[in-house]
């Protein structure tokens, strides 16, 4: 199931074509506006094994800019920001599919093209010895670590687009 293209929020917004692992694609728009992480909150969501959102708490909904109805049933990559390298998400999926926890800094794209940084932890939901889905908990990140992650991700993206 593909996501519809985003609507450009402003003439200055950067337009990017994103290609996802499920072979779907969409056009997204990003601005340089950063939205601060809500103090004291945790952003919580759950997905099924295919990464389809099955639960989103209020902080998740508010920070994403989408309505709950648009999020439930949508792929988690609805929040994918083009500044995030594919390698980061490959590492995430490889780790949780092995039944292990994944932690990392993630830049998320909001519906209006602005962004927010999180420190994300993803845990497999193990029920009766079987992984049935994943819970993702995001918390307010350290700005020092965000700066480090942003620099690293920029390098990874350059490597991803460079001809081999």
């Amino acid at each position: 199931m593909g996501l519809p293209d985003m609507t450009s929020p402003s003439p200055q917004a950067r337009e990017v074509q994103l290609n996802y692992a499920d072979t779907s694609a969409r056009t997204v728009y990003c601005t340089e506006v950063e939205v601060p992480f809500p103090e004291g909150s945790l952003i919580v969501s759950r997905t099924d094994l295919q990464g389809i959102i099955t639960h989103a708490n209020q902080a998740f909904i508010e920070m994403s800019g989408y309505e709950r109805e648009a999020l439930i049933g949508a792929p988690q990559y609805i929040l994918r920001h083009p500044d995030m390298p594919k390698a980061a998400f490959k590492d995430l999926w490889d780790t949780v599919m092995r039944g292990e926890k994944w932690h990392g800094y993630v830049k998320n794209l909001r519906k209006d093209g602005s962004y927010y940084w999180v420190y994300a932890s993803v845990v497999p939901n193990v029920r009766g010895g079987t992984i049935t889905g994943y819970t993702s908990v995001r918390r307010k990140p350290s700005r020092v670590r965000v700066a480090e992650a942003a620099a690293l991700y920029e390098q990874w993206i350059k490597q991803e687009v460079a001809p081999s």
């Binding site: 103090e39 004291g40 945790l42 926890k101 908990v137 918390r139 990140p141 350290s142 700005r143």
Partner: protein, 249 residues
């Protein structure tokens, strides 16, 4: 057969009588015999659990994770409309205005409540302060934590939000919250040991129906849980445990 009903030791002192009222009300309404266990510390609670003495437990979420996943306890109720939140506060006169103003090596007063310490540590991450960067000052009560914060013997103190709210007006006027958690998805839960699970229906029904009559509501008010208890499924508890697991590191 009498079931031991263990209450996690992190409730506010003013609710102590409320737990005895609840124990009495549940016996009367369910026809079951309950013996209340009120350990005064996490260590004392651990002793009761190690001796396998707890049949019914009002557990904090951190302990519930171990009890459900390792010991096989069955979750069946939780306080309605009431999540476990925490507050990081400092002296009103402190120069610290936000969490990010706290420095490496800062002194923080904590009780032995693991949930509160864990959530507080996560709220300190934006300041780049890890647990080993802090000089922890262990105190017996939230009142003691408040006194140390007010005297600036510590840079900040961790509080269960309910306990912070129940500090005297005088005390609260001398301390200032830096941040309060807004997690919503973590709460205490009521668990039954597998050996007690078959006797649960009468007890569960009595607990969940307390708010439907005046006498029951009086008990709930004395506990500071005016919205009563609601049923919780195994999956509800597992979800909360996954969330706690995600916060562990």
């Amino acid at each position: 057969m009498t079931l031991n009903f263990l209450i996690a030791p992190d409730f506010s002192p003013e609710h102590f009588a409320g737990w005895h009222m609840l124990n009495t009300a549940l016996q009367k309404r369910s026809g079951m015999q309950l013996h209340l266990l009120t350990p005064t510390s996490a260590a004392e609670q651990a002793d009761f659990l190690a001796q396998d003495k707890a049949d019914i437990v009002y557990a904090n979420p951190f302990d519930a994770a171990h009890m459900v996943r390792t010991l096989g306890y069955v979750p069946f109720a939780r306080p309605a409309q009431r999540s476990d939140e925490m507050v990081i506060a400092c002296a009103a006169a402190s120069p610290v205005q936000k969490v990010e103003d706290l420095k490496l090596g800062c002194r923080i007063a904590v009780t032995d409540n693991k949930d509160i310490k864990l959530i507080g540590q996560r709220l300190l991450e934006p300041a780049d302060i890890g647990p080993t960067d802090i000089e922890w000052v262990i105190v017996d009560s939230y009142q003691a934590a408040a006194r140390m914060a007010i005297k600036q013997e510590v840079d900040a103190a961790f509080f269960l939000a309910d306990s912070f709210a129940s500090l005297s007006r005088m005390t609260r006027s001398q301390i200032r919250p830096l941040v309060e958690s807004a997690i919503h998805d973590i709460s205490h839960v009521v668990l039954a040991h597998p050996r007690a699970a078959s006797q649960l229906s009468a007890l569960s029904a009595a607990l969940l129906a307390l708010q439907t009559d005046e006498a029951g509501q009086t008990v709930l008010d004395a506990l500071g849980m005016s919205d009563g208890f609601e049923a919780i499924t195994q999956e509800d508890a597992e979800f909360m445990i996954d969330l706690m697991d995600a916060l562990l590191d």
